[in-house]
């Protein structure tokens, strides 16, 4: 332990002060909160622009009746900034509007009132003039559509009330009310399964596997680069001549890289939360999401512990693979080209877990997934909210711990310079041979 602490300190300091780590690890991590911040700022400013300036609508009223004037009054009362245009040709009106900041042209045709009063379909022609595909434009168009729908609904309600004053128009419009319940574990939730699955599929079904994949590949990359730099700078050679065990040298590197990866993970998760909060803060989504989140099913404390343990094991597994790659590489370039292989045992279970139920896969694929330690945190996250953790997942924790310890042991055996130098030599020769081949 005495010699391990300075080695861990060395690893953490050297990694955290390395700008390449920030580029390689923090850049993708910071992308999420920055993206979230940008999106929420754009949305906020779009909403502010719309509410400050109002939505300008030009109306050509060809009907010129009291109903068409009522229509204009209605949409004005809902916040649209209505200006009446003289009865121009449509092409001329559009041409004129292109030079202004009005993006909506409504044409109320002749017969508007007579159609409405005789219970026939009336028509309003709406021209959306697209000047950009930004969020402000999308917001404006959807607000105008909502206002028109509101007018249509108001008309129906008025017809129903005039024909049958004793009837509640709402009951006629929605004669059947469905109340959905979803049963999860021993709880009955007043929410439809579709909404619930969307929420959970996003959080535990996609986010956890993606976070884990990113963290594992980053940590493998960090460990591979750090070890390859040790080879390149011959600092590993120096360490190996000190009176300390190879195991201490390896553990220093594994723990150091894992600590840096954990820090990265925390920043990444914070970034993800910022990102998703900004995405889901849209009024329509938030309204629905808020009522659900109060009723979300919870996972047991034990399953959180299992998730944490399996996550640690997966990170150590990926770090060990990274150290192996780095140790076999005589320089950073070689390790950079080899580290892609580490992604295979991480990406494969990630996609399997995201896109399917593991138990429904062919046996060979199931064995492959259960054989890989990075699969377990993904499988736990997928099921911890809905069912008890499956038996094979519970068994998988001690299995993947043993597998990872074995891999760490193998890696420590590899840190024998005799083997390392000859393996590096062989790899280098193979690459050089590959380059000189016609």
């Amino acid at each position: 332990m005495g010699s391990l602490l300075p080695l861990i300190e060395k690893e953490i300091k050297d990694l955290l002060r390395d700008p390449r780590i920030y580029i390689g690890l923090l850049a993708p991590i910071l992308t999420m909160p920055i993206l979230g911040l940008v999106i929420s700022t754009i949305m906020q400013s779009s909403i502010e622009t719309i509410s400050r300036e109002g939505i300008k609508v030009a109306v050509i009223d060809l009907d010129r009746t009291s109903t068409s004037r009522e229509f204009m009054g209605f949409i004005r009362s809902l916040g649209l900034n209505v200006s009446e245009f003289p009865p121009l040709e449509i092409e001329d009106a559009i041409k004129e509007l292109k030079g202004s900041d009005t993006r909506i042209l409504m044409v109320v045709p002749n017969g508007f009132e007579s159609n409405i009063t005789s219970f026939r379909k009336a028509q309003v022609n709406v021209f959306f003039i697209v000047k950009s595909t930004g969020l402000t434009s999308i917001g404006i168009f959807s607000v105008v559509e909502n206002v028109l729908n509101a007018y249509s609904k108001a008309l129906v309600e008025s017809f129903i009330s005039s024909k049958s004053p004793e009837v509640n128009p709402e009951d006629v419009l929605n004669p059947l009310t469905t109340v959905s319940y979803t049963v999860v574990k021993d709880r009955v939730l007043k929410v439809s399964p579709g909404v619930l699955f969307n929420q959970f599929f996003m959080s535990s079904g996609i986010i956890v596997p993606i976070v884990l994949m990113l963290v594992s590949t980053s940590v493998a990359q960090i460990a591979a680069t750090a070890t390859a730099v040790e080879n390149e700078e011959k600092t590993l050679e120096t360490l190996l001549t000190l009176p300390i065990s190879r195991y201490s040298i390896l553990m220093g590197k594994l723990i150091g890289s894992a600590v840096v990866a954990m820090l990265g993970t925390i920043i990444f998760i914070v970034g993800l939360i910022v990102y998703f909060q900004s995405i889901f803060s849209l009024p329509i989504v938030a309204e629905e999401g808020l009522t659900i989140s109060l009723e979300l099913p919870t996972a047991s404390f034990e399953s959180y512990v299992m998730l944490f343990i399996s996550l640690l094991i997966a990170i150590f597994f990926a770090t060990s693979l990274g150290v192996i790659i780095g140790a076999l590489s005589s320089d950073v370039r070689i390790s950079g080209s080899l580290v892609g292989f580490v992604q295979i045992p991480i990406m494969v279970p990630m996609f399997m877990v995201i896109y399917g139920d593991v138990r429904s896969l062919p046996l060979a694929l199931q064995i492959f997934i259960y054989a890989l330690p990075p699969s377990y945190p993904m499988l736990i996250a997928q099921s911890m909210f809905f069912t008890e953790l499956p038996f094979e997942v519970l068994l998988g924790i001690p299995y993947s711990a043993a597998f990872t310890v074995f891999l760490v042991y193998l890696t420590s055996k590899l840190l024998v310079p005799e083997k390392l130098l000859s393996l590096q030599h062989k790899l280098l020769m193979r690459r050089m041979k590959g380059r000189t081949m016609p």
């Binding site: 005495g2 080695l7 050297d14 002060r17 011959k234 001549t241 130098l421």
Partner: protein
Amino acid sequence: MSVNNGVAVDVRNLVKLFGSSKALDDLSFQVREGEVFGLIGPNGAGKTTALRILATLLLPTRGSVKIFGYDVISQATDVRRIIGYLAEDAGAYRNLSGLEYLSIMARVYFRSKNEALEAVNRAVDISGLGDKIHDKIKTYSKGMKRRLQIARVFMLKPKLAILDEPTAGLDVVHASYIRKLIKDYASKYGITVIMSSHNMFEVEYVCDRVALINKGRIVAEGTPDQLKTFWNASNLEEVFIKVVDIG
């Protein structure tokens, strides 16, 4: 316990094969306690391989190597407790300061905090880097890095310092500084030194005895004066050329 009878390094019939190529071919020599011993030879002669075996980094294919009586294969951990090794072109952790690097290496080597602290103070003094010792290593010149590495080796006060090309690639000023460091501190702390070099003037200045190695074998051995007399040469460079031509 080891019995060494005043012999610091005892290399006997050492053979090292890399696949089918023979890096060392029946190499034998001895270094006495307190000596500064030079291993010189052309590129690919086997100097680095021999030093790596002494430093317990490589295993011999055949033959035996004992450091102060300890066998480098069966007693590698004991050997590591008494050696300090400087690899050719050895770097350090770029993002640490010189002081942090020395402190970490001292704490890895010594169990006692006080011993580690004393060693670091010693190293700061040996390196002669002054306030630059607080700067990040990535800002150091090649010469400053080498001074740091020499300080790292000597702060441990090892019984045997193994230095592979300690002045390779350095300018005249830094090379001269390093040579002086080796000579002074080896004598001050009573450290036995085995070093390889291409620079014959350096070897003549620093080393008490020299072995010329070619194609993995010792082809001449003695003090610089003995070698010059025997080969009727005015300096070691002439000796080297004559010996290598014959070898």
